[in-house]
């Protein structure tokens, strides 16, 4: 080893404790997860791919997976719809408004997930805000069922994950070159047209980053899914929990976890790679 190499490796000395921790408490467990998923039955008698075959040949399991991924996509789209106007107002406003919007975005991000979910139970419940408002205004004759529905779950998750979308979109809008929009304005383009032809394409990388964050977070949001969605909507996180803790079928639960992980990270990496290719296209043009 040359002296330069030794110094370079010595710099890595402080990394060793964490690397050791990660080996023991992250790499090893994941290896165990893969191993357990290959057992034939909960008694761990013999290795086979039977758990994966079981998943892929079971329409119920496949539906649970597709529902979960669809939920993530839907919530991410809803947050995107809310985040852009919020970001547009943010960049165009005074320091005070900016601080206020930042505070509003940080608030849910820092409040415990159980608390945020609980709030939605109060809002959507039988005696909740929406029902009592609609009843007293005479719009509804009887309280509607809002809790334990798919729509209620999407709404709650949209609020809970909105900060993850708003922050990257605001950051990419702040980086946008103001001369471009001013030039377009000077040439007589309407603000809507400026948004669609200039702002949106140039801030798309930030939007995609936010979309992927929200997608992954909403698909894996166990607490909100079980409390607002209720027991009748079965999604991957509660399916894994039920198989692991309820039925004690660890090999199947492990296979479910791996399939779910691969599906979520696969989608994140695929869309991330596609967007990077698209961004290069923008630069080249």
């Amino acid at each position: 080893m040359s002296p330069a190499d030794t110094t370079a490796s010595r710099q890595l000395l402080p990394v060793v404790p964490l690397a050791a921790l990660f080996f023991a408490a992250f790499v090893l467990p994941l290896a165990a997860l893969v191993l357990v998923s290959l057992f034939r039955d909960p008694q761990f008698s013999g290795l086979s791919l039977v758990q994966y075959v079981r998943f892929l040949s079971d329409p119920f399991s496949l539906k649970v997976l597709s529902d979960t991924l669809w939920l993530g996509a839907e919530v991410a789209l809803a947050t995107l719809f809310l985040a852009y106007p919020l970001a547009l107002v943010y960049v165009g406003s005074s320091q005070f408004m900016r601080t206020l919007i930042t505070f509003l975005i940080m608030l849910p991000l820092l409040t415990s997930t159980v608390v945020r979910t609980f709030a939605w139970i109060v809002i959507l419940g039988r005696d909740g805000i929406v029902n009592s408002a609609m009843l007293s205004l005479g719009f509804w004759q009887a309280p509607a069922r809002l809790l334990y529905t798919w729509e209620g779950m999407v709404l709650a998750l949209t609020q809970i994950q909105l900060p993850l979308m708003a922050l990257p979109v605001i950051n990419s809008l702040l980086r946008l070159d103001g001369n471009l929009t001013r030039a377009a304005e000077g040439l007589g383009a309407s603000r809507a047209r400026i948004f669609i032809t200039i702002v949106l394409p140039l801030t798309l990388p930030g939007a995609i980053a936010g979309w992927l964050l929200v997608f992954a977070a909403a698909a894996t949001a166990f607490i909100t899914q079980t409390l607002v969605g209720g027991g009748r909507i079965i999604l991957m996180p509660s399916y894994i929990y039920q198989q692991a803790v309820g039925v004690q079928d660890w090999p199947f639960a492990a296979a479910l976890s791996l399939i779910f992980t691969l599906a979520v990270t696969g989608i994140v990496f695929a869309i991330g790679a596609l967007s990077r290719r698209y961004v290069r296209g923008v630069d080249a043009a």
């Binding site: 370079a8 930042t102 894996t220």
Partner: protein
């Protein structure tokens, strides 16, 4: 004329959605605070009367206070462990150009992409296969792993902004490595460390997926307890706990903002 009409419609649409978005961000927190002061026995909104009864009830509920205390201890331990180990690693990785440094950085960030349920289950499996009994210590270990990515990113960002010339100067003027670290490096990355401790603490305190698999009967944590209560019934005591959590988080945010400009740090992550 037509152009101004289009612009006005556009502004109205943007303004309306923004208003709705801001209301959506704020409303749930407000709702929780308001409902926690209800004098009634249900979650009826608006509350029929006002009182502090649920806060009093909360203080007398050992079954909630115990998990709350456990959660605070676990979160404190996980924060210290992830800040010390993660902070040291971030310092080591920040300027290294070695390939292994990039690989380790990716490894330390990966708990963020892995669905937490899968990680929780995998820890349970490995502890079982190795015959390790579940305890508060195993729970802290799991929480530390999921807190580390925040420390790596936020402390790493602070180290990147640090001017390396300052270190070189200090060393060439005869200061020891330890003295340089204490007097130069540490004060300059203080904000990043403070912000990452804040986020790590909240992450651990709030964690459900990992605790769900790792908590044994004696180490019941608060979010799981609240989840279990809410699955069974709509208990108003949860509103009081939520009220306390919201107020403490706000107080913490104000402190962290004064001490380290935490919102900027989190925005950059």
């Amino acid at each position: 004329m037509q152009r101004s009409l289009v612009d006005r419609v556009y502004s109205a649409v943007v303004g309306t959605i923004t208003g709705f978005g801001m209301l959506l961000l704020l409303a749930p927190t407000l709702v929780v605070l308001v409902i926690s002061f209800t004098g009634g026995i249900t979650l009826k909104f608006p509350p029929p009367s006002w009182s502090l009864r649920w806060y009093v009830e909360l203080l007398q509920s050992q079954e909630i206070m115990d998990p709350a205390l456990t959660s605070l201890k676990i979160a404190a331990a996980a924060t210290i462990l992830s800040a010390v180990l993660g902070g040291a690693a971030a310092l080591g990785l920040a300027r290294s150009k070695l390939k292994i440094a990039r690989a380790l950085d990716a490894l330390f960030m990966s708990p963020m992409v892995l669905p937490a349920m899968a990680f929780g289950l995998s820890l349970l499996l490995v502890f079982n296969l190795l015959g390790i009994r579940l305890s508060a210590a195993t729970l802290v270990l799991g929480h530390t792993v999921i807190c580390v990515p925040f420390v790596i990113r936020m402390v790493g960002a602070s180290v990147q902004q640090l001017n390396p010339v300052l270190i070189t100067c200090s060393l060439s003027l005869g200061a020891s490595r330890w003295y340089t670290f204490r007097r130069i490096t540490l004060p300059l990355i203080r904000r990043g460390i403070a912000a990452s401790c804040f986020v790590a603490f909240l992450t651990s305190f709030d964690n459900v997926p990992v605790s769900l698999f790792l908590a044994d009967a004696r180490t019941e944590v608060l979010p799981i307890k609240l989840w279990a209560i809410l699955e069974g019934s709509l208990d108003v005591r949860v509103a009081a706990v939520s009220g306390v959590i919201v107020l403490l988080t706000l107080a913490g945010l104000v402190c962290a903002e004064i001490f380290g400009g935490v919102s900027r740090q989190i925005g950059n992550r």
